[in-house]
């Protein structure tokens, strides 16, 4: 980061809807700690190398910007959902020992074993959704038919939220994660509605507990000073519902699009379904559309990257997808290698804040791919790849539609 380097403007342009920005390679090689300008006009630093991103994310001293930090704003003053702003005061602790306490309390319900136990149920849901899509005839939008409904139904079941309210969750989630589609008044109204909804749901569970996660968390918090406080319960419920829904839904669409974009990939998987596990992690690595701004960290102390000192007070944008294509870490980083192993990609982050739901997301993606390969081996894109359209303005990247036939 020197005064002579040009300022990078986020989000960076790309050639095709599945392509990475060409700029990443140049940045990794020549300017791995770059100065960026955001839609708000504020500036920060952008990391594009694997080792740098991993080192910063793994450092427990730092977290996303907290209220009161003088951090760079992503969206202009009048817009941006709660997940994109810096003044969001969640009751769930963002760092240190308090964060670890919350994380371990909730994390035990997302272990690999628990997620594997959900697999048969997920498979039945995915099969039913595919059958419904097929009954409707080709072409169909795979994202609307399977990508969205599966993760919504899984997270609703897990939390004990009624799946009939999924259109409302979708709207609230979009308003949380969008950079520029809604006004500040609209996102604030959505937050207030969602918060009131979750408060009511918790009250209903308290009165008539079920077998679900929210009921379990309430039960564990019954004794004074144990478990989670009421605001923590509410914010945990809201966070899990949003996080368990939009990200996986978009990833299902992108995964299928990436695998069908070059149909030899699909054929290889049809011939050898044992590649599903590594193929899922490889599309997670190669996804160039995780969201244009990366994961943010606010520096409360100076941080050195290979001799470049980034000063206290800088908002750093960790380019996860750029790091995932770093040739210094991954052989043939630009290629999709369906059997790649090990695959230490950073799509779920790293360190103490690494995605809590990653075993859930991996299981859902593996189930979707298994079911599609088995029931629709003839699946193909119904439009040329270049006609796929990226969703703009989401902190979580995705494609608008994934039209398929079979």
């Amino acid at each position: 980061m020197s005064q002579n380097d040009p300022v990078v403007r986020l989000p960076l342009p790309t050639e095709g809807p599945l392509d990475p920005p060409a700029e990443w390679e140049r940045l990794r090689a020549r300017c791995p700690v770059a100065t960026v300008e955001l839609p708000s006009g504020d500036t920060g630093a952008l990391l594009t190398r694997y080792d740098h991103v991993k080192a910063l994310l793994s450092d427990p001293r730092f977290s996303r910007p907290l209220p009161g930090d003088d951090s760079a704003r992503v969206a202009p003053e009048d817009g941006g959902g709660v997940a994109t702003r810096n003044d969001t005061a969640l009751s769930v602790a963002f760092k240190g020992a308090e964060h670890q306490r919350w994380r371990r309390h909730v994390g035990r319900y997302f272990t690999a074993k628990r997620m594997t136990a959900l697999r048969p149920g997920m498979t039945r849901t995915a099969e039913a959704l595919v059958a419904e899509m097929v009954a409707g005839g080709a072409p169909a939008d795979l994202k609307a038919a399977l990508g969205f409904p599966l993760p919504v139904s899984v997270i609703c079941d897990l939390l004990g939220a009624p799946v009939r309210d999924r259109d409302r969750f979708s709207y609230w989630s979009d308003a949380f994660l969008n950079i520029d589609r809604y006004t500040r008044a609209e996102t604030e109204a959505a937050e207030a509605e969602f918060s009131a909804y979750m408060t009511e749901l918790i009250a209903a569970k308290r009165a008539a507990p079920g077998e679900d996660l929210i009921s379990t968390l309430i039960e564990e918090s019954r004794a004074e000073g144990e478990g989670l406080t009421d605001p923590e319960l509410r914010d945990t419920g809201m966070s899990l519902l949003v996080a368990g829904h939009e990200t996986t839904a978009n990833m299902i669409g992108k995964m299928v699009a990436m695998l069908l974009a070059d149909r030899t990939r699909w054929e290889r998987l049809v011939a050898d379904p044992s590649l599903v596990r590594t193929a899922v992690d490889e599309v997670l690595r190669a996804d160039a559309n995780l969201g244009g701004f990366g994961v943010r960290r606010f520096l409360t102390e100076d941080f050195e990257f290979d001799g470049t000192v980034v000063p206290t007070g800088t908002t750093v944008f960790c380019g996860l997808s750029a790091a995932n294509r770093d040739e210094r870490t991954f052989a043939d980083a630009g290629e999709l290698d369906l059997g790649r192993s090990p695959n230490p990609h950073l799509t779920f982050g790293a360190g103490p804040h690494s995605c809590l739901g990653q075993a859930l997301a991996r299981t859902e993606l593996q189930v979707v791919l298994d079911v599609l390969l088995r029931t629709l081996p003839s699946l193909e894109l119904a439009v040329p790849v270049a006609e796929l359209e990226r969703l703009a303005g989401l902190a979580v990247g995705g494609l608008r539609e994934v039209p398929v036939r079979w």
Binding site: S58, R103, R104, A112, P344, A350, P352, L356, A359
Partner: protein
């Protein structure tokens, strides 16, 4: 091969259990890693190396003999 885990660093992501279930588990009470076998048999060493490489918290150390 000798395997050690750092339970303080572990973030409970469970990727080691998905990669090498014979060697790693997670505690029921908080999802933190449990080492089932510190000297794994030849048949699962490759999976253990993978688990160490992909651990998001870098909490697994493998020492080759």
């Amino acid at each position: 091969m000798k395997v050690t885990v750092d339970q303080e660093m572990c973030c409970g992501a469970g990727s080691c259990v998905l990669a090498a279930p014979e060697v790693f588990d997670q505690r029921d009470e908080d999802g933190i890693v449990v080492l089932l076998d510190a000297e794994p048999a030849a048949g699962c060493r490759e999976a253990v190396r993978e688990a160490a490489a992909i651990c998001p918290a870098s909490a697994i150390t493998v020492r080759e003999d």
